[in-house]
């Protein structure tokens, strides 16, 4: 028992997860604990997300995994030249997942995956120096993915399914750097929309050349979340009396891409009880050109160039069956920021990050397992700015030093029949 505790402690101090932009990589505690690898791992129903093709290789007729996590993220900002400092006090994010896979016969499995791969909660102090860019934002998206997996041979399988997304956004920022009402309260706008729907798909393939080696591939399509007229509200507050009529509350249209993701990877068993996995993920963030919000009053079209670039995540993870009851996992990944210099907007303050993960599973019995994982996201201090805010026809820059990190901890259960 003493030995076990030591292993656990190490696993925890090397914890993982999170990803660039508004991606939230918490799609299964077993895999998250292994550095969020999984495209070439067959362990549980989590494969419905990581690689649907893997479902056909699962043991048991029915596999279910459920879990949730708390995301505690923090970002600090300071600008030495002007003496500005602010700390984003972000509300706790709660990504969750629910996966089920049922083996219809030896070559066909079906499944259902519900997960939350995108989201963001950033809350800066109201009216802080960057408030003309963002005061607070909350993005969420729930993916529902019916899945089919087909075993072509003992060595090769394919899988995939359509994705139905329902999302919501709530975003508040001040209208300009200086506009206030007569009482000195900053003029601001909140856009709010929920129940935004869109469709996409996920496909995967798995190749098992030997007993001990797995290769996997997964592609999840880009999904554009479009807010159409009448679906959301734009609430303008604290306008001076002379402008209030021009900035009447109303609706808005906007579009936010949830970028495509391509992952391939390998796993192998170097020894009895050990599994090591590598994943490489390419996220096609270049779809995120600009966050354009069209209002239907004097505010007009708000163009907010983003010009994200495609980025990569390099992941490694390991698991070790410590005892019959306990499996421990640890991992690491390096997550490139998709943000170019000069486009660092404080609503998604994500620089490059190094990520440490850890976790364990505890088998209660042959059917039920408890899964837990933690992730620590560390970013180096960055000096960057956002230079595309337009004021009176001039591009006005807002920048400084940012430092952010995050801790994610979660727990779930797996069931196998």
């Amino acid at each position: 028992m003493k030995k076990l505790l030591l292993v656990l402690t190490i696993a925890f101090s090397a914890s993982v997860m999170y990803a660039g932009g508004y991606r939230v990589g918490v799609q299964g505690h077993k895999q998250l604990a292994m550095g969020h690898t999984g495209v070439a791992v067959v362990t549980s129903a989590e494969s419905a997300f990581f690689n649907p093709a893997g479902l056909v290789y699962l043991d048991g007729e029915l596999n279910v995994s459920l879990g949730a996590a708390a995301v505690l993220s923090n970002t600090s900002y300071q600008n030495r030249e002007f003496g500005y400092s602010a700390e984003a006090d972000n509300p706790v994010g709660t990504p969750f997942y629910a996966y089920g896979a049922y083996k219809i016969n030896d070559w066909l499995s079906v499944g259902l995956a519900v997960y939350t791969p995108y989201g963001s909660r950033v809350e800066w102090p109201t009216d802080w120096e960057g408030s003309h860019l963002v005061n607070n934002i909350e993005l969420s998206a729930i993916f529902v993915q019916p899945t089919v997996a087909i075993k072509l041979s003992d060595k090769l399988s394919v899988g995939g399914g359509p994705i139905y997304v329902t999302g919501a956004v709530n975003f508040n920022r001040n209208l300009s750097r200086s506009l206030t009402d007569e009482g000195g309260n900053r003029s601001n706008v909140t856009i709010d929309a929920s129940g935004i729907n869109a469709w996409g798909y996920s496909i995967g393939a798995m190749f098992r050349p030997t007993e001990d080696i797995n290769l996997g591939f997964n592609y999840r399509s880009k999904i554009d979340m479009n807010v159409e007229r009448g679906e959301g509200t734009a609430d303008f507050e604290n306008l001076p009396g002379a402008l209030a009529a021009d900035f009447a509350d109303g609706d808005f249209t906007a579009s936010l891409p949830l970028p495509a993701e391509l992952t391939f990877g390998a796993s192998f068993k170097p020894a009895e009880k050990w599994l090591i996995a590598f994943d490489y993920t390419r996220t096609f963030w270049d779809a995120y050109k600009s966050l354009d919000v069209q209002f239907f009053n004097a505010a007009g079209l708000s163009r907010n160039p983003r010009n994200y670039k495609n980025s990569s995540i390099y992941k490694i993870g390991a698991q070790y069956d410590a005892t019959q009851k306990v499996t421990v996992r640890a991992g690491f990944y390096y997550d490139e920021s998709p943000i170019r210099d000069g486009f660092f907007a404080p609503e998604t303050p994500r620089p490059d990050s190094v990520n440490f993960t850890g976790g364990f599973s505890y088998n209660l019995n042959s059917r039920w397992t408890i899964d837990a994982s933690v992730l620590y996201v560390h970013s180096n201090e960055v000096q960057n700015s956002y230079g595309s805010f337009v004021e009176a026809g001039q591009r006005v820059s807002f920048g400084g030093e940012y430092k952010s990190n995050a801790l994610v901890a979660g727990i779930g259960v797996s069931y196998k029949l």
């Binding site: 402690t9 300071q78 003496g83 750097r177 200086s178 007569e182 009176a392 001039q394 990190n405 801790l407």
Partner: protein, 504 residues
């Protein structure tokens, strides 16, 4: 259980790590420094510009953005102490303006706002509540007194309410003079400043300029008691006075910053109304010219008799044509031909500056029943509507002399100099701040862009809050440079500009 505690401790460590700390946090002591200056007690001495005067008055919220108050907020990062300003708590409507014994004090109206229903600047339509006779008798860190000329700062009785009716006292200073015969500089020095700013001299030329040169140039006359309100102060008096102020402020070894005086062409009061503001078609021009046939003929008579040169005859000839036209003015600097029945008239040229209030006067009818009595066309404009090229030169001569004294005295006392003359000159072509925004000295033109970028208040002379932020930033820049200090700079873009009300 013991194991659980160990487990929790590790988890807690992880949570703790979640507070991102910068390698060099700016809220750490030592992040900023005042260099060889000591900012513990900062006292600002000057006139309306130091007081935070804007939109034609002092009002409560505007005063918060006086340049010394903005600077003091930044000084706080580098050892700066509390900074107090004269109380305007009795300005309950945030309107500015003064009452005297309960009645509105003429000449001290409420602040100017844009009335959206009318489209132009108006005095905020409320009754002032700040009372001149409620005396605070307190020396404040901000010793800027609106309207003060250089020699007022050392004048006993400038804060004595008994002198108000004779014009020898200033209602702003009356409200906080420590005693009736106190002086502004005496009250300032009583705070034992460790650091000071001095920006004075603007009114020594500005009242002459804003009056359209209605006063006298007193250069060579050291007797200030003989000066009229709109006169130009003798540069000798200015230099002597300035030296005295610096001596008083540096007596205990305080360091400080002084500022030069900007040119009149830097401020919208003189640059907004063009010299040729009157559009005419050919028919109207012919009609207008007809009224000056006799005058133009008289000029030719004077020329033929050698009373004036050909150049002056040409300069004085009145001629309107289709398009934009200059206005007719009375210019007392022309050769006096009134003995021959020929008035001192000419048309304005690009070298003349029309004062801001002329925009509401030119084109109106002097006699509502006579369509030929258009002010500036049929009826010549009086001296007070225009600062002529000759008058501009008088202002420039004095200003150059003052600035030479300021720079020389500052150098002799090893003080920092903020060259506000140069800084405000940048506004003419466009002043670019660190964030990329470009500011100009344009008067508020009603556009939404101007709401974000106007830096002059509606009185056309004083900066608004945003403009004072530019001023504060420049002061800090030169303080950092001179004293090896590292005081945070100021972003003008965060400060408010014009106030627009739906109706007034």
């Amino acid at each position: 259980m013991k194991n659980n505690i160990k487990y929790l401790a590790v988890l807690a460590l992880g949570l703790f790590a979640c507070e991102p700390e910068f390698d060099n946090p700016i809220d750490e002591s030592g992040a900023y420094s005042s260099g060889s200056a000591d900012l513990t007690t900062y006292v600002a001495v000057g006139n309306s510009l130091t007081a935070g005067f804007m939109d034609g008055t002092m009002f409560r919220s505007g005063q918060q953005n006086s340049f010394p108050n903005i600077m003091a907020e930044k000084f706080a990062f580098a050892g700066g102490g509390t900074f107090t300003q004269p109380s305007f708590d009795d300005d309950v409507n945030d309107s500015g303006g003064f009452l005297l014994a309960g009645n509105p004090l003429p000449g001290f109206e409420t602040r100017l706002v844009i009335d959206a229903s009318q489209g132009g600047p108006e005095n905020l339509n409320v009754v002032p509540t700040a009372e001149v006779s409620s005396l605070q008798a307190t020396a404040y860190n901000n010793m800027g007194v609106p309207g003060a000329k250089s020699f007022h700062l050392g004048a006993p009785g400038y804060g004595n309410i008994a002198n108000l009716s004779t014009g020898a006292a200033n209602p702003y200073y009356i409200r906080h003079a420590t005693e009736p015969n106190a002086t502004v500089i005496g009250d300032a020095v009583s705070l034992n400043p460790t650091f000071f700013s001095l920006w004075i001299g603007n009114n020594d030329i500005l009242s002459f300029a804003t009056s359209g040169g209605a006063g006298e140039d007193q250069t060579g006359n050291p007797n200030v008691l003989s000066y009229g309100f709109n006169d130009i102060t003798d540069p000798g008096v200015f230099a002597f006075t300035y030296q005295g102020l610096i001596d008083a402020l540096t007596a205990n070894g305080a360091k400080g910053v002084v500022a030069t005086l900007p040119d009149v062409t830097s401020i919208p009061y003189f640059t907004t109304v063009p010299y040729n503001p009157i559009p005419m078609d050919a028919q109207t021009a012919a009609f207008a010219n007809n009224a000056y046939t006799t005058y133009n003929g008289g000029l030719q008579f004077a020329l033929a008799n050698g009373f004036i040169t050909a150049a002056e005859a040409a300069q004085r000839t009145i001629s309107f044509s289709a398009g934009q036209n200059a206005v007719v003015i009375v210019d007392e600097d022309l050769t006096n031909l009134t003995g021959s029945g020929i008035p001192n008239l000419r048309m304005t040229t690009a070298d003349d500056l029309m004062v801001l209030p002329s925009s509401g006067f030119i084109g109106t009818l002097a006699d509502p029943s006579n369509p030929a009595s258009v002010n500036g066309v049929g009826v010549p404009l009086a001296d007070n509507w225009v600062l002529t090229a000759t008058e501009i030169q008088l202002v420039r001569n004095a200003r150059t002399a003052y600035n030479n004294s300021i720079v020389a005295i500052a150098a002799a006392n090893d003080l920092a100099v903020a060259d506000m003359a140069v800084k405000l000159e940048e506004l003419v072509s466009g002043l670019r701040t660190a964030d990329g925004q470009i500011y100009t000295n344009n008067y508020f033109d009603g556009s939404s862009d101007a709401i974000s970028t106007a830096v002059f208040s509606l009185d056309g002379v004083h900066p608004n809050s945003r403009g004072y932020a530019i001023v504060a930033d420049e002061f800090i820049r030169v303080i950092n440079e001179k004293y090896g200090a590292n005081i945070p700079r100021v972003t003008a873009g965060y400060y408010p500009g014009v106030t627009v009300v739906p109706t007034n």
